[in-house]
Every structure is written in C-alpha cells, then in structure tokens.
C-alpha cells in the first residue's frame, strides 16, 4: 500500500468507519505500523472523530438553531429596510411639501393633495413645473407600495405546545405594514420548525410533546432548555460494544448490568432482540411496540423498561416514558445490594430528567439529574454538566418557571 493511495482514497476515514474489507483492513493496519506519517494522519482523524462524537449533540442542536436564526434575521432586515425606505420616502415627501408651501412653489395638483397643499397657486400643472424629486409624491400611499402582508411561509398551525416566551403569543418576525400578523409558530425568533430540522438531521423523531409550558423569560433560557430537553438515542450494539465517547457507551445492557444478557424468561427475549433490531435501525415506533410486548412478559426487566422509556421519549411522548423509566428505578432499587447500585439507575435518572424537562417539570428534572450525577457511571459527568446548566436556567428564571419555589 502506498501513502498516496491512503490520501487519495480517504482510506483513513474508511478504515475508521469500518468500511474496508478484512484484507484491506489488515493491509492498512500493517501500513500504519510501518509508516509514521500515515499513522499520524489516522490518529488525527481518530481524535477528530472522537471530539466530534462527544459534542455531536451540541453541534446538531446549535447549528439548526443558528441556521434558522440566520435565515429569519435576513428576512427581518430586508423587510425593515423596505419599510424604512417607504417611510423615509413619505417623510421626505412631506418635508418637501411643507417646504414648497412655505416658498410658494407650485405644488402638484390632485384630489388627494389638495388637503395638504395649502398653496393658492393656480399655475398650470405640468411635469415640468414640479419639483424634480417631488413628482406624484402626494399620491404616495402605502397601498401603492409593494410591501404587503407578511408572506411568511406556512409552517402549520399556531403553536399549542412549546416554550412560551415572556408570556406572549408567537408572532412573526416580519413587520406587517397593515398591522396584521401572520401565524408562523415562531417563538421569539426561534421557529418551531427548528424541531423538525433537528429531527431530520438526527434521524430521530421530534421530542417536544409538552404537557404544560413553562414561561421562560429570555431567549437564552429557552434555548438552553431546548438543548437540555433534546434527547439523543443511547446506542445499543449487539456485540455488546458501544463507543466509549459520549454517554451512549455505558448504555449497552451487558456493559450496564455487568453480566451477560440472559433472561430467565426466554420468551420475552425474541421480542427484545427484535425491538433492539428496530431500535438500531431507528425504527422507534416498531421498537416501542415490540418492547411493550417484551414488557408484558418481563415487567421487571431493566433493559426492556429502559429502552421502552427511551423509545417513547424519542417518539415525542415524554409523559408515557416516565412510567417505564421509573419502573427501572423501582426494580433496580429492589435488587440493590448495599451500595452496589446498577448503572441502569443512573441512565434511568438521566432520561427521566430529559422527560421532565420536556414536560416542563424542571424541579423534578433537577432532582433526577442530581441523582444521576451522584451515581457512579459514564453519565456522571454529563449529568453534572446538565445539572449545572439547568440550575443556572432555573436561577435566572425562578419567578416564572412552574415548579420553582415562590420568591
């Protein structure tokens, strides 16, 4: 293998993505053991992948919000510019009109202008005796302009869910000349369609079914809660291996329970395996149905309940996800021996917090994150980080957020 081949065919990426056949993989590995330059390149891409993987959630959420904001920012600017130009033209016209009245300059005649034109001029009105920039200005009205009602693209019905910022109903970002507003589901500049974009990017279903909406007083707080409430599917791999980066690593059933995945009830396992097949394929609806079947046969199985809760959460049913996730905790606590807590507990607390954030129960979300942060596991750091962020949001919005103690 030549170094040029490695660069030309992007073999490093293919290798790291597991896209090389076994023979090519072996050849590639021998090459990087012999060639320091190529090894450095693979290391760089590997490190880059790890970093990207660790902040994938942030990048996806942030980029979609930014993308959406960018689009509307320019539409808003363009509309403002048009309106300001229109108003400026009117004002200029008025100024010239009053100026011409003061200097007895013949004003253009028209029925509409007679009221404003106080001149007693009887000069014939031709195109030549009008002021250069004042022609027909009297007749200029907004009706003649091309600025019309908000032409915001339809994005569906008005929001009945989502965060209600500053207690106001959602309004368009666009300025409407006639004072009417068009429904566009925007929430202080963040359109609800962001959710759908994020979903498309993540290939995950929308996650924001909110049963009651906390009134958030600032854009930043709302965005932060949006980020905190967004759920990324914890990976599940049949080989028992998950990427060590990110929180998904600890969510492999084998890894979490610390023992082989064997159930006393073998009848439920086919359902569970099929469900996990569907889960890996991101067919969360199928996975949910199968997990519900598995849960009937194994009501106390931590893995079944956990993934059922996660699937419901991913299908925008945070309220329904709470019961199975709590069942995980009940089962885990019942089987706990001394201080030996199952890693399922931490994962269940973590995703319960996500569900709570989505339904607006921030007090309970904080409690769940606290529990997750105190437990040992790979979600500890992420739980601590999210806890701090949630506490910051709650502290800044305390008077408005339900669940906060009254000041």
């Amino acid at each position: 293998m030549l170094c040029q081949e490695l660069h030309r065919d992007e073999l490093a990426e293919k290798y790291l993505n597991g896209q090389l056949d076994p023979a090519a993989q072996d050849e590639f590995e021998v090459h990087i053991l012999e060639c320091v330059q190529c090894l450095r390149q693979v290391e760089a891409v590997q490190n880059l992948r790890q970093e990207l993987d660790e902040r994938a959630h942030q990048t996806r959420a942030y980029s979609q919000v930014e993308h959406s904001r960018f689009h509307w920012k320019w539409v808003t600017i363009a509309t403002f510019s048009l309106v300001i130009c229109g108003l400026g033209a009117i004002e200029l016209g008025r100024m010239k009109s009053s100026k011409s009245a003061g200097t007895h300059v013949p004003a253009p005649a028209s029925a509409a202008s007679s009221a404003s034109s106080s001149t007693s001029s009887s000069a014939p009105l031709t195109a030549d005796n009008r002021e250069v920039n004042g022609r027909n200005y009297i007749n200029f009205t907004l009706n003649d302009s091309h600025v019309t009602r908000d032409k915001a693209p339809s994005t569906g019905s008005s929001p009945s869910t989502g965060l209600n910022l500053k207690g106001q109903r959602a309004r368009s970002n666009l300025v409407n000349v006639d004072g009417a507003d068009a429904t566009d589901n925007s929430v202080n500049g963040i359109r609800s369609s962001v959710e759908r974009h994020v979903t498309a990017a993540n290939q995950q279903p929308p996650v924001l079914e909110r049963t009651h909406t906390p009134e958030i007083g600032s854009d930043e707080a709302a965005k932060e809660l949006f980020r905190l409430g967004t759920v990324q599917a914890p990976p599940y791999t049949f080989s028992g291996f998950a990427s060590s980066s990110g929180h998904g690593a600890s969510l492999d059933p084998g890894a979490l329970s610390g023992k082989p995945r064997r159930s006393p009830n073998s009848q439920a396992r086919p359902f569970f395996r099929d469900a996990m097949d569907a889960y890996v394929d991101k067919r969360y609806a199928d996975a949910t149905d199968l997990l519900e079947q598995a849960a009937k046969a194994e009501p106390n199985a931590a893995d079944v309940n956990f993934y059922l809760g996660v699937c419901r959460l991913l299908r925008a049913k945070p309220t329904d996800s709470i019961a199975p996730l709590q069942a995980v905790l009940v089962n885990v606590n019942a089987n706990a021996k001394g201080n030996d807590t199952s890693p399922w507990a931490q994962a269940a607390h973590f995703y319960l917090a996500k569900a709570d954030i989505q339904i607006g129960d921030l007090a309970d979300a904080e409690a769940q994150l606290q529990s997750a942060a105190t437990l040992t596991g790979r979600l500890s750091a992420e739980a601590r980080s999210e806890l701090t962020r949630l506490q910051a949001v709650r502290a800044s919005e305390k008077p408005r957020i339900p669940g906060s103690p009254n000041p």
């Binding site: 030549l2 170094c3 990426e13 290798y15 790291l16 993505n17 597991g18 896209q19 072996d26 590995e29 021998v30 990087i32 053991l33 012999e34 060639c35 320091v36 330059q37 090894l39 450095r40 390149q41 693979v42 290391e43 760089a44 891409v45 590997q46 490190n47 880059l48 992948r49 790890q50 970093e51 990207l52 993987d53 902040r55 994938a56 990048t59 996806r60 942030y62 980029s63 930014e66 993308h67 498309a200 990017a201 080989s239 028992g240 291996f241 998950a242 990427s243 060590s244 980066s245 690593a249 084998g254």
Partner: protein
C-alpha cells in the same frame, strides 16, 4: 514534470531494516530493544485497538496485552521472518482484539512486568495535548464545517448526502471537509514532530 522523490518508500525500507535489527536484539535478550519496540509501536497498536473496539478504555488495556504478547513471542523466537515485524504485530493485535470482542473478557495471563510497558506520564501528557489541539481547532471551525465533519466522519454519510442535508454543493462540502481535515492533520503532525 519532475518526479516526486520516493520519500515514503525510503522511510519504510529503513523502518524494515530497523525492525530486523530490533527483532534480533530482542531475541538476544536486550531489554532496551524491548523498550524501543514498545515506544515504536505502541501508538500504532493503540490506534488499531481503538478502531476495532471503538472503546478507548478497552483499547488501552488491549494495547498492553498485545505488546506483552508480542514481546513474549519475540523473546522465544516465534517471528519467522524478521522483515515482517509489522505484519506480525498487526496479526497478533488483530487476533487478541478479536478474542476480546468474542469473549468480552480479557484476562492477561502474563508473566511479564505490566508496569514496565504501561503508558508513561509523558505519553499521557502527549495524548492529552493532542486532544486539546483537536478541541481548539474544532472550536475555530464554523458551525457548517463542524456539521460537515460530524455528518461525514461520525455519522458516515457520503459527501453527496451531506451536501443535500446542508443545502450546499457537493464541491463546497468536499472542499470544506478536505480543508478542515488537512488543517488538523498538519497541526497534529507538527506537534508530533516537536
């Protein structure tokens, strides 16, 4: 058109020659040669272990195990063709990693001193520094660049798919990705040299 000098080939020939000598020194019981082998191949073995297991913690343990197994084999003269040291190391690494993946339990049955071949503090620091470098570079990229890298390197989407998702042209995605990866790779290589 001037032909590019075969730098890589020359480097690899030298590496092969050095590998032969190294294998012979280990067979002769030279402990410093063992240290040299470990420092030469540790990073490569670790990269392979991470790529195959996708688990850095497991890869760290496996790297130890693989290096110890290789040293044991070299000491007992199991390497038939000393020119193929890299292939021997890769084969050993592959087999041990596959065993690990099959059993998910790796109990190193070794008589060698583990501590002698564990990653030293300098190596740990270097690894940390490399990570910081990547973090810094990543921070400096635009959100679009980061998204391109995420979709292509982590999610495994083709450039065409990435272009479609981000509403960019294929060429723009290719250029942006290539520039970003090249930038990081260059800095990475520069840091490794210093």
């Amino acid at each position: 058109m001037q032909e590019e000098p075969p730098v890589a080939s020359a480097t690899m020939s030298e590496a092969n020659a050095a590998a032969v000598v190294l294998a012979q020194r280990i067979l002769a019981g030279d402990r410093s040669a063992e240290d040299e082998l470990v420092s030469t191949y540790r990073r490569g073995v670790f990269v392979i272990a991470v790529a195959r297991t996708r688990d850095r913690d497991a890869a760290l343990d496996l790297t130890q195990e693989i290096l110890i197994a290789i040293l044991k084999a070299l000491r007992s003269g199991q390497l038939r063709e000393s020119t193929k040291l890299a292939a021997f190391i890769q084969g050993t690494a592959r087999n041990l990693i596959n065993n690990y993946l099959r059993t998910k339990a790796h109990h190193a049955e070794v008589e060698l001193d583990d501590e002698a071949y564990s990653a030293d503090a300098v190596e740990e620091l270097e690894s940390l520094e490399r990570r910081r470098l990547v973090q810094r570079e990543l921070e400096s990229f635009s959100i679009t660049d980061r998204q391109i890298l995420l979709l292509s390197l982590v999610d495994g989407h083709s450039l065409a798919e990435v272009a479609q998702r981000l509403n960019l042209s294929h060429e723009a995605v290719r250029a942006r990705k290539s520039r970003a990866v090249r930038k990081i790779t260059k800095k990475f290589a520069r840091m490794s040299q210093t």
